[in-house]
């Protein structure tokens, strides 16, 4: 038995293993998907929905509501929720800080800056990139911008430390990159006209309405890539809980782990921003919820955060489509309104349990 595995087991024993967590979250995700498909401003009774899903011929309106609106939105919500939850969990593990969130290393602000650049200067850029299909410019820019900002933060953190590329200097570099990107975005907003400004607000508030199947596919690829890279790193992240030096003594190559987590996060979050804009809260709070229920073991926290993130976003989207019908609420508003009180309740319960 490796020392690494022993560490992980010790942590798991100390904190409680939460064996039912993942099956429970899978059930929650299934229920959330059903809610997303069944609820909406257009009423389709559950029996009819079952018929439609099992191959009954839909009317044109039912077909549009199911195949153009609810199913792609459901797929998009699952992909984005999973990617954000996963990225948040990995970041909090890497930085050993419960306040870490995917935005910390510049992904979101870099993606936002690039997206706003594409919106404001789009007509001028578009003439060089005529081969791009209409509407693809902003998402592609967002994805590239997120990745570029993260790589810049990584590069800066390496240049900063004397030989050391510690997590602390990465955090500082991330803050600097965030500040510069925010300044650039602010500058572009002051030179934008009111139509562009509305597009920018739409983008920075986040929305699942327009991503469609392409957006869901893009975010889905990002989420699957991140899952493939991060799940095998679960034990290394467990060991990192002891401290960077201690993890190194256990045979973890911390610098390589850091690079892997940061790149995987940037890919996943960049893909979500490209598909649906900036959606906050999920990446920050979902990993906490999972840890409060199932303990800090990353073998549970990573897949748990992916499942819970997907479920939370599905329920939020269903609520955003139903609560103000026939109008829609912004998704970021609903994730916070739904997740916040739940989070507070969990914190209170834990406080009472500990006392």
């Amino acid at each position: 038995m490796t020392a690494q595995a022993a560490t992980a087991r010790r942590i798991a024993l100390a904190m409680g293993s939460g064996r039912l967590l993942l099956p429970g979250l899978l059930v929650l995700l299934t229920v959330a998907l059903l809610v997303e498909l069944l609820l909406g401003a257009v009423v389709i009774p559950p029996g009819r929905m079952l018929e439609l899903l099992t191959g009954a011929a839909p009317t044109q309106r039912e077909a549009a509501v199911l195949w153009q609106i609810r199913l792609p939105r459901g797929a998009l919500a699952i992909a984005i929720g999973a990617a954000l939850g996963l990225a948040g969990a990995a970041q909090q593990g890497l930085f050993r800080n419960p306040l870490a969130d995917p935005a910390l290393i510049g992904v979101s602000s870099g993606a936002a800056l690039a997206a706003v650049t594409a919106i404001v200067l789009g007509e001028r850029i578009g003439t060089w990139l005529v081969f791009l299909p209409a509407g693809a410019l902003v998402p592609l820019f967002a994805f590239g911008g997120g990745l570029a900002a993260t790589l810049l933060a990584l590069r800066l953190s390496r240049a900063a430390g004397p030989g050391g590329e510690g997590t602390g200097s990465l955090l500082l570099a991330g803050i600097a990159v965030n500040a510069v990107c925010a300044a650039g975005t602010g500058l572009l907003i002051t030179v934008s006209d009111d139509r562009q400004l509305r597009d920018i607000i739409f983008w920075t508030m986040g929305s699942l309405a327009t991503g469609g199947w392409y957006g869901a596919a893009g975010a889905g690829i990002g989420a699957v890539l991140a899952l493939a890279v991060l799940l095998p790193a679960a034990r290394a992240l467990d060991a990192l809980l002891l401290g960077e030096q201690e993890a190194a003594y256990l045979g973890i190559r911390v610098d390589r782990l850091r690079l892997m987590v940061v790149i995987a996060t940037a890919l996943a979050v960049g893909a979500t921003v490209a598909a649906a804009g900036v959606i906050g809260f999920v990446g920050l709070v979902v990993p906490h919820l999972v840890r409060l229920i199932g303990g800090p073991r990353h073998g549970l926290v990573l897949p748990g955060a992916a499942l819970l993130g997907a479920a939370l976003l599905l329920l939020s989207d269903a609520a955003s489509r139903v609560l103000a019908a026939p109008a829609e609420l912004p998704i970021g508003l609903v994730t916070s309104a739904l997740g916040g009180p739940f989070f507070i309740a969990l914190l209170l319960r834990r406080g009472r349990g500990a006392a």
Partner: protein
């Protein structure tokens, strides 16, 4: 006799079975109701606040952030959409459900208002009404235009879209406010800037406006003329010193809808006190305010 009655019935039934309409955009909704006050509207957007019947319709949210499913839940057969309506993905989803979507031009010109009347008339099969409304609008516009052209001065006008804490947003070129000021015989005090921009105190002083014009919503929001003039630099301008501030309903002044001639006349009266600007004939779609 009986045969004639049946033929008449057959002819009128399709006209009675009106299409369920949903209109997006304040000026579009106004135009629909000007052509057909009893139009079978099942919903509209948040910018459609006039006439009172439009304000009372179910609202599918803000014009530019529509949700497709909310629109579909009202089961419209025809959606009349301002060119500003969006996002495009939502409009495509609505069309995919078998609903016709007609996009209408949105420009800050009298011609766009007339063209909208014609297109809506064709879509509603009310060509005769469209022709009479367009003729009335054209005549009213020509009358106001002639009177405005005869006014002696060309006052400089600063249009504020918003005010309050921070820099007020002023209308530059290419805006509906800029077009309205010129139609009413004024000069936009903010030149060389496109769109709505934050206005610094010194830029306000440099602009030297003779009049400050804003929307009544903005004036109410900021808490009256005194509060508005307390904004950076405004009190020291010619308009501020003489307290020359005028406010109009936003949709009325900037909508470029069927009430365009009345709005143009009201603004011209405010900017040219004492000038002769003849009253317009009463129009059912533009009740005196």
């Amino acid at each position: 006799m009986l045969r004639a009655a049946i033929a008449l019935l057959l002819l009128t039934v399709p006209a009675l079975a009106q299409e369920r309409l949903l209109s997006l955009g304040g000026a579009v909704t106004e135009t629909v109701l000007a052509l057909d006050p009893g139009a079978a509207l099942v919903g509209s957007d948040l910018t459609s606040q006039f006439p009172p019947r439009a304000a009372a319709l179910p609202k599918v949210g803000y014009l530019r952030t529509l949700g497709a499913e909310g629109v579909l839940s009202l089961s419209p057969q025809l959606v009349l959409a301002s060119a500003d309506a969006g996002p495009p993905a939502a409009l495509r989803q609505i069309e995919a459900a078998g609903v016709r979507v007609l996009s209408l031009p949105e420009a800050h010109t009298p011609e766009a208002a007339l063209e909208r009347v014609r297109l809506v008339g064709a879509a509603l099969h009310r060509e005769a009404e469209a022709q009479s409304v367009a003729a009335a609008l054209r005549a009213d516009l020509a009358q106001v235009q002639a009177d405005v052209a005869a006014t002696p001065g060309r006052p400089k006008v600063l249009f504020l879209l918003s005010a309050g804490p921070g820099a007020p947003m002023a209308a530059g070129t290419g805006t509906a406010a800029d077009a309205m000021v010129r139609l009413a015989g004024g000069i936009n005090a903010i030149e060389g800037v496109r769109g709505y921009r934050g206005l610094s105190a010194e830029a306000a002083l440099l602009a030297e406006p003779d009049w400050i014009v804003t929307t009544s919503e903005t004036l109410r929001g900021v808490g009256g003329t005194d509060r508005l003039l307390a904004g950076p630099g405004l009190a020291a301008t010619p308009a501020g010193r003489a307290r020359r501030v005028a406010a109009f309903d936003g949709l009325y002044l900037l909508g470029f809808g069927p009430r365009l001639a009345q709005a143009q006349r009201d603004l011209a009266l405010a900017l040219h006190p004492g000038a002769t600007i003849r009253p317009l004939p009463a129009r059912p779609w533009a009740p005196p305010s």
